[in-house]
């Protein structure tokens, strides 16, 4: 995802773009820096200043990409994001790499597991969490070609899978839930945010081997959420599961639940969520280890789905 983001950035860069980093992106941003030296700015290890500078550049008409590891250019500078970028409705794209548990062994400081909740609560923000390299590329391309105001773009790191068929890639639209796999007879739907899309697809394939159909939807745009599609999905399926590498508080499952508030026609009992508990991990582990530890690996998810489906059958 990280590389796809950079590829799109280099490809669709305009003279108005500014890439500002808080001294991160070793190896990743070198190409951009070489190609567009005047549009690259490393402000040093100073995320409050990074975010203020991004606002200042955007006030002068630049489209600014603020780049760092998740938590650093988000939580460290949350007030600058709220007051300087969001209140002034500026064209700043806050790109955070390592969303979720991508930097597993690096420890709790590097686990971005509340970022979506916190940023989503801020008015004017668009929250994007692409599910694979294709989404990362197309979303970044759209962000450069059009203005979306303040954006939080949560990406994983290098090496995520490509989950799209080639002819479907052009269907990726900011603001629209993308039906990645739609089984006509399915009674189960998966709604996935960010890099969990790979797990959602894997779960779909495993269920398929057991003759259980399921559909997979990518919710790359967490805010504004595609309410109509969510209602449609809730009307269509008997079981809905959300997948996210984020705290249970304030992420995708909260967003989905919020859209159903006051909707008496909706049965929220058929909705289950795979998310992280609201706690700091006390074990060390890589992304896969921690996913498994917290019950959001493909195996653990499958076990829980089977239990829920069997109980209700």
């Amino acid at each position: 995802m990280r590389n796809s983001f950079v590829n799109a950035l280099e490809e669709f860069n305009t003279p108005n773009t500014m890439l500002v980093t808080g001294d991160l992106g070793f190896g990743v941003l070198n190409g951009y820096r070489k190609k567009f030296p005047k549009q690259f700015l490393n402000v040093g290890v100073a995320e409050q200043n990074l975010t203020g500078i991004a606002a200042g550049l955007a006030l002068e008409g630049k489209k600014v990409i603020s780049y760092s590891i998740a938590n650093f250019n988000t939580l460290r500078a949350i007030e600058q994001i709220r007051n300087d970028i969001a209140y002034h409705d500026l064209n700043v794209i806050i790109v955070a790499v390592g969303g979720g548990l991508a930097y597993g062994q690096l420890g709790v400081t590097h686990h971005a597991t509340e970022d979506v909740a916190i940023l989503r609560a801020i008015p004017n923000m668009t929250i994007l969490a692409p599910g694979d390299k294709n989404e990362a590329y197309h979303i970044m391309k759209s962000l450069l070609l059009e203005d979306y105001g303040p954006v939080y773009l949560r990406i994983g790191r290098a090496g995520e899978a490509s989950l799209y068929k080639a002819d479907e890639i052009n269907g990726i639209r900011i603001g629209k839930i993308h039906p990645l796999i739609c089984d006509n007879n399915a009674k189960i739907a998966f709604l996935s945010m960010g890099g969990m899309l790979e797990i959602a697809k894997k779960t779909h394939l495993t269920l398929k081997e057991k003759n259980i159909d399921s559909s997979v939807y990518s919710v790359h745009t967490v805010k504004p959420i595609d309410k109509n599609k969510i209602i449609e999905i809730f009307n269509k399926y008997d079981y809905i599961f959300s997948f996210e590498e984020h705290s249970i508080i304030g992420g995708l499952s909260s967003s989905i639940a919020e859209t159903l508030i006051g909707n008496t026609a909706m049965d929220i009992g058929k909705f289950n969520s795979f998310a992280l508990p609201s706690e700091f991990t006390s074990v060390v582990g890589d992304q896969n280890y921690l996913r498994n530890y917290y019950g959001i690996s493909a195996e653990k998810i499958l076990q829980r789905i089977e239990k829920i489906i069997n109980i209700n059958r």
Binding site: V43, I53, L59
Partner: protein, 272 residues
């Protein structure tokens, strides 16, 4: 209108506004009225009839709690009707206590939380350099605000990038919210700190209009130095109203009844 006229009008507006709105921060507005008057009368290129003119100088009030002063100077300079100042702090109006850009011509930036103005000023100054634009960026800050670490990040950045189109002005009235600056978090040796960080540093009397103007002019003619500039403006909190001067109380207190009448009378008498 002379800068003296303008400064006095700003002060009278500030007392009226904080009286009507029962709002705080009159002391911190009075301490910057002279700076605002000199800037808006003699220094800044501004275009009241076209507030977003690309060639305008950018002025940021980083000590957003003194927003009444900016509203007053903008109204006096014709950005919007003076009559509108009566709406300050009123339910349903646009003029919030901390300065807001929303719907108010001439306000460059909304502030209120301290330590935001200088980093944004750095971004604006960097953009102007990149685009080879001649305008300058002025950021007016409080002394207490210099406790905020974000400023020191920006101070390093501005010097590193030779932002000689950036001017910081510190309203050094030496009183912050609860106590004197020296009893809260010492800034001294203040000028030396800025110098050590690579800024052209000027320590002046922040109420002396000639000195203010001379310093701003000197900064303009000194641009070859390739350094950002800071004016440490030694000021008096509550300047112009004797019973408010140098009193911590007038950071928060709103002038009511006799206090209000005496304040207005003193400002009018002194001026006449």
């Amino acid at each position: 209108m002379t800068t003296k006229d303008l400064a006095n009008r700003i002060k009278i507006h500030a007392v009226n506004m904080t009286h009507t709105g029962k709002s705080s921060h009159v002391g911190g507005v009075l301490s910057i009225a002279d700076i605002l008057a000199v800037l808006y009368n003699d220094i800044l290129n501004v275009y009241p009839e076209n507030p977003k003119h690309p060639d305008r100088d950018r002025f940021i009030l980083s000590k957003g709690h003194a927003g009444a002063g900016v509203y007053a100077v903008l109204a006096e300079k014709g950005f919007f009707p003076v009559e509108m100042l009566k709406q300050h702090y009123q339910n349903g109006s646009l003029l919030s206590g901390h300065v807001s850009h929303k719907g108010i011509p001439g306000v460059e930036l909304s502030t209120g939380s301290l330590g935001h103005g200088l980093p944004i000023g750095c971004g604006m100054a960097y953009a102007a350099k990149l685009d080879k634009k001649p305008h300058n960026i002025f950021v007016l800050m409080s002394d207490g605000e210099c406790d905020e670490g974000s400023n020191w990040e920006a101070i390093m950045f501005a010097a590193h990038h030779n932002l000689n189109n950036l001017v910081a002005i510190i309203d050094y009235n030496k009183i912050q919210s609860l106590d004197k600056v020296e009893n809260t978090l010492k800034l001294e040796p203040f000028a030396q700190k800025w110098e050590a960080f690579g800024w052209e540093t000027y320590s002046i009397d922040g109420h002396n209009h000639q000195e203010l103007k001379k310093t701003f002019d000197k900064i303009q003619s000194n641009k070859k130095e390739k350094k950002p500039s800071v004016i440490i403006a030694n000021t008096i909190k509550g300047k112009g109203v004797s019973f408010m001067e140098n009193k911590v109380l007038w950071h928060y207190r709103s002038p009511q009844n006799e206090e209000f009448e005496n304040a207005i009378k003193e400002l009018k008498d002194n001026y006449a």
